[in-house]
Symmetry: C2
Subunit: 215 residues, 2 copies
């Protein structure tokens, strides 16, 4: 299986800008990428990092450490959907697309996704996103804009592809907004968590859900 | 297995007050309770609704419809943790505690939880909560305040109980804040969704995650 991990390295995680500087967002995004790619390698697959621009030296170092060098890079400066669709068009084997900010992904959860039969298998993200998917149908194309989970369901029906979903909290949790960051703290022991620790975060308990904070 | 579904009927879902009136919150909470209890019944278990006060006639009607009458009610006006702990102390069989706002829970996801071996089995919720759990250890007690997921892990260690977790998006999704409501829309076809439809909500697509809105 070809496992694609899209990565926008230059201005990553813009919705975290209320709590992290640009440099910090880059560090955190890089750590998550290395964690995700490391989990892919542990499933026995070699990830393809689909990047909008050549990776920085720091990103390469981090990826090497996370994967043991078991990855390759493809550069495509188009937006996410056409870039992924170009890979789908060219593919002669099943393609998995796994978002680079799934900091809670583990080898077991990814194997669960890869092993489910179906022309299209989706791990939905919160808020209607498509956090990870496997495509085994030659005519299916992605559209990540808006409520992509609904669009992908419709797209699968449109080309006569069977669709399955995966019920996984770990794969549903993309780290996109400040409130998501606490999940990394609670549920992973990874480069991503170490990065947040180095950035000075700690757990803050409020009346409702807990969150991360720093002084 | 004794399956307990705690329910605070009088002022439910206070964190939804920005988008729903008190009456609407009551309707929605009641629909979620009926959905959750219906899913429990479909696993072959009979839920015990642990209520802070006698159920209203409307709630009883909704529960009857959702469960086919397969439930019983226990009244305890203490806060959640002491009320649940009283049941744990009295129990002579495994006890599952399933929150009443898990509108995405299905029989399959609940069976997955019930079938996992372990003295304490937790389905974590977002933000460090404990959305559903099974307790098979006589000395384990709950503490739902704050980051209960961490407290329950520690509590299990403290009494020498083995602890397992369940990786389920459906069980991780408690409908607590306005942003959570869209998950009901996207991933269930239930009384809870019908209630939101009747309340005039529709899907609104923004740049990031989608959400529910009404005019």
């Amino acid at each position: 299986m070809q496992v694609v991990v899209p990565f926008a390295g230059r201005t990553p995680k813009s919705r975290l800008e209320a709590v992290l500087s640009l440099e910090e967002r880059r560090d955190f995004a890089r750590a998550m990428l290395a964690d995700v790619c490391g989990a892919v390698v542990a499933t026995g697959n070699s990830p393809t990092v689909l990047a909008t621009a050549p990776l920085s030296e720091t990103t390469v170092t981090s990826l090497e450490a996370g994967t043991g060098g078991e990855y390759r890079v493809e550069i495509d400066d188009r937006p996410l959907s056409p870039a992924v669709n170009a890979l789908l068009e060219a593919a002669d084997e099943p393609v998995a697309i796994v978002m680079a900010d799934l900091a809670l992904a583990t080898p077991v959860t990814l194997e669960g996704l890869f092993e489910i039969n179906g022309d299209v298998v989706i791990a939905p993200g919160r808020g209607g996103g498509t956090n990870a998917m496997v495509v085994r149908h030659p005519s299916f194309r992605v559209d990540y804009h808006g409520a992509s989970y609904l669009d992908h369901r419709q797209g699968a029906r449109g080309v006569g592809a069977t669709l399955e979903t995966v019920d996984s909290f770990r794969l549903a949790t993309d780290i996109d907004e400040p409130a998501d960051m606490v999940e990394v703290w609670l549920h992973s022991d990874s480069r991503s968590k170490a990065t947040l620790e180095a950035q000075g975060f700690h757990l803050e308990t409020t009346e409702g859900r807990v969150r991360l904070a720093r002084d």
